[in-house]
């Protein structure tokens, strides 16, 4: 069994346990991906992540039904889909259509106002379930440092700004109090420091894996296999299992490189996948290996583990957590952060071609795309725009997308 399969098996078992906990009435939190999950994990409060649940529903090919229903109900068709699919499924009211037979009412809701829709989507969740809503603020960054990843690990106070960190830290403290009230447990600050240190160690190991894959002569593990190896431990970050799994993942990648393993033996073109996963059609990632020797070396999840998560605690782990969360999503989507980071990553991974997912109706993710395209092209990377949504397959035309990429790759071969 590969490490990715082990991770998937662990996740399946864990989900069974979570489902059992939740369906037997345990209090759980329903939260967005860019919120401080660490508080819930550490306080041992079950938690379901909105975007993860969205991907689960999409992977089960249930999104089209729900999005059709959504429009029939009077929600308009241009509303963002990735963050709303779970709400729509819940509003639809037939739990048998959902994985696990749907979710019971959460005890707490938490979202960051990084995008305008989050407050409104979570307001509807709150209205539907009666759960209290914690909205974390997301003030803009007036003077964003383009080289954020070089500053974020140690020098985050300067990078994110004292006023922004004071604000988010205070809001996280309010969240801690709410979780204490719900669980009846006290927040152990010393224990939390140890836990945060374990997360940093895990993310550093993922950084080592990223370095290994970037410098390997040929890609030893494609992104479809990377993603579960990264994201499943990421959902469990800091746990003993997650640390152990990441260590094994790192060793497996190192062993493959040592053995000269190539995911695509005919590798000629190294590609990066920009954007969230194409959750309803993950086989697309391997569609160009045989025909063109084109293989995906990069998706954001692995390199972001180190750049987006490692934050030295400087004696205040809650503040370090605020630094991690403070611009988590923005760094992946907004200029100058995203364009500068993608260029640095493309150079590090020796990328030839970038496939850029542009979700028109998920503007938080879609905005900034053309800055990134311009920067990559100036760095010598060919950029292919894939206009699609991460979870809504209704307008996805696989054949057309394959033809589009094929034509671009053919053109490269001719030019070469």
């Amino acid at each position: 069994m590969t490490r990715a399969a082990e991770a998937a098996a662990y996740q399946k078992d864990w989900l069974k346990g979570l489902r059992q906990q939740i369906t037997s009435g345990a209090s759980f939190a329903f939260v967005n991906a860019d919120t401080p999950h660490e508080i819930f994990h550490f306080m041992d409060m079950p938690m379901v992540t909105n975007q993860w649940w969205s991907a689960v529903i999409a992977a089960k090919q249930q999104a089209p039904y729900f999005f059709d229903w959504m429009e029939d109900e009077g929600f308009h068709g241009h509303l963002p889909k990735y963050s709303s699919l779970p709400l729509v499924a819940q509003l639809e009211g037939d739990p048998s259509r959902q994985p696990w037979g749907g979710l019971p009412a959460p005890a707490l809701l938490c979202a960051r106002q990084s995008s305008d829709e989050h407050g409104r989507i979570f307001r509807r969740w709150s209205e539907l379930t009666g759960a209290p809503l914690h909205l974390l603020s997301a003030p803009g960054v007036a003077d964003p440092a383009p080289n954020w990843w070089e500053m974020a690990r140690e020098n985050w106070e300067e990078l994110y700004g004292t006023d922004r960190l004071d604000l988010l830290q205070a809001e996280i403290e309010e969240l801690i109090t709410a979780v204490e009230d719900l669980t009846g447990r006290s927040f152990d600050r010393e224990g939390f420091a140890v836990y945060m240190d374990k997360i940093d160690r895990m993310e550093k190991m993922l950084g080592e894996v990223s370095d290994l894959i970037a410098s390997a002569p040929k890609v030893p593990m494609g992104i479809a296999e990377q993603m579960p190896n990264v994201m499943i431990p990421q959902w469990h970050r800091g746990s003993d299992w997650a640390l152990s799994h990441v260590k094994g993942f790192r060793d497996e990648v190192a062993e493959r490189i040592e053995a000269g393993h190539a995911e695509c033996p005919n590798e000629k073109i190294r590609m990066m996948w920009i954007g969230a996963g194409l959750w309803f059609d993950t086989s697309f990632y391997r569609a160009f290996e045989e025909t063109h020797g084109a293989t995906f070396a990069w998706s954001m999840y692995l390199p972001f583990a180190s750049d987006g998560y490692i934050r030295a605690d400087h004696g205040d782990p809650v503040r370090a957590l605020a630094a991690r969360v403070s611009a988590m999503n923005e760094q992946l989507h907004q200029p100058p952060w995203v364009n500068e980071w993608l260029v640095a990553q493309a150079r590090k991974y020796r990328i030839d071609v970038a496939l850029m997912l542009i979700p028109e109706h998920d503007r938080f993710s879609g905005y900034g795309s053309l800055f990134a395209k311009r920067a990559l092209e100036q760095a010598g990377v060919k950029v292919i725009e894939i206009w699609s949504d991460m979870v809504d397959p209704r307008a996805w035309d696989r054949e057309a997308a394959v033809a589009q990429v094929t034509a671009a790759l053919d053109e490269m071969e001719v030019t070469a």
């Binding site: 509303l79 106002q113 409104r120 709150s126 007036a142 604000l167 309010e174 905005y367 800055f371």
Partner: protein, 360 residues
């Protein structure tokens, strides 16, 4: 120039027509959330820059350097602003302040500053400033908003040479109060939308004087109509409403909310707190405040018209709940769908048909 003519000209020419004979520096404001009185109190003249002049009826100037980085689905206000910025339309301004919580402002700010950083726009032109006032309650948000105020004052000081003067602020707020009173008297005026929003490009006291010089309008009659949806800087929905009755509540971002949302209590801190806690804002926190404000605002309406732009991320989540509310109240709600940035006759005709269908 007659008062009505001057008001309508200010509404049509917008930032292009804004001059200040006093020679005070012009400070552009993109998006609601920054009280104009604060800008006055720092010795500058505020000018709304989000809504483009009506002379740019179709697209306005188109600059290739903007087209290169503006996604086709970029917010229309943000895209128009960027093209105009690149075209030098704001070169005479000392500063442009972007209200982060406005739907289009953060994107406009990020794209403008990034274009400058990359050398796609010259570094000359107005200073660009992000005003991240949180529409939240609580001590932490209040502290953060005070630091934003300090940052703003420091930036204003650099362009005007003075900070926020409390006496000047009190005088500016008095003018805001006069303007509000004048607007209240003209609420039933058939051109109320243009008369009110013209003030975005007029000094508050002068705006009040012009309004005061207009004859009192006839009392409103016919259906009481409520307007909801995303920002539209044209009286399109008003035009439709007036064919059926009168606008009793315009709860859209260019609607009745301004300038009342910027005319808070005396004193800088109290004024900022008042803006921050105003309930009729999509990013209001607690989020439930917005629903309540919307429901209260539509109380007593006989008909509600809703329209959103193609980039709406937020308001659309409230439409079914609004529909349920209207149904419970027995108030017809007409969903007009996506409203183009500059609606044409065909869109208006389709809207009329939808309204007729619901009312039949």
């Amino acid at each position: 120039m007659r008062a009505l003519e001057e008001l309508l000209q200010a509404f049509e020419r917008r930032a292009d027509g804004r001059n200040d004979a006093s020679g005070a520096p012009l400070v552009g404001i993109f998006g609601d959330g920054l009280p104009e009185a604060l800008i006055h109190a720092a010795g500058a003249t505020p000018v709304e820059v989000k809504a483009p002049p009506l002379a740019d009826a179709t697209t306005g100037p188109q600059r290739p350097e903007v087209t290169e980085i503006a996604e086709p689905f970029l917010d229309d206000f943000a895209a128009r602003f960027l093209h105009r910025l690149a075209d030098g339309a704001f070169d005479h301004m000392a500063m442009v302040v972007f209200a982060r919580d406005d739907v289009a402002a953060l994107t406009a700010y990020q794209y403008a500053t990034e274009m400058r950083r990359l050398g796609m726009l010259p570094a000359t032109g107005p200073r660009l400033h992000l005003w991240s006032l949180l529409h939240s309650e609580g001590a932490a948000a209040e502290r953060f908003n005070r630091t934003e105020l300090d940052r703003l004052e420091s930036a204003l000081q650099q362009v005007t040479g003075q900070g926020i003067d409390t006496d000047a602020l009190a005088r500016a707020q008095q003018q805001e109060a006069r303007r509000l009173a004048a607007l209240a008297r003209l609420a039933s005026h058939p051109q109320a939308f243009a008369l009110r929003n013209a003030g975005r490009w007029l000094e508050a006291g002068h705006h009040a004087n012009l309004l005061d010089s207009l004859p009192a309008p006839e009392p409103a009659t016919g259906r009481r109509i409520g307007l909801v949806g995303t920002a539209c800087d044209l009286p399109v929905l008003h035009q439709l409403a007036q064919e059926l009755g009168h606008v009793a509540a315009d709860l859209t971002p260019y609607g009745d909310i301004w300038p009342g949302n910027h005319a808070g209590p005396e004193g800088v801190g109290a004024l900022i707190d008042s803006v921050a806690t105003h309930p009729l804002h999509l990013r209001a926190n607690p989020a439930s405040k917005f629903d309540t404000a919307l429901a209260d605002g539509l109380e007593g309406c006989d008909l509600v018209l809703a329209a959103v732009d193609r980039n709406d991320d937020g308001f659309g989540w409230d439409l079914p709940a609004l529909s349920a509310l209207c149904k419970a109240r027995g108030t017809p709600l007409v969903m007009l769908g996506f409203r183009p940035f500059r609606p044409d006759a065909a869109w208006l005709e389709a809207a009329r048909n939808k309204i007729a269908e619901v009312l039949s």
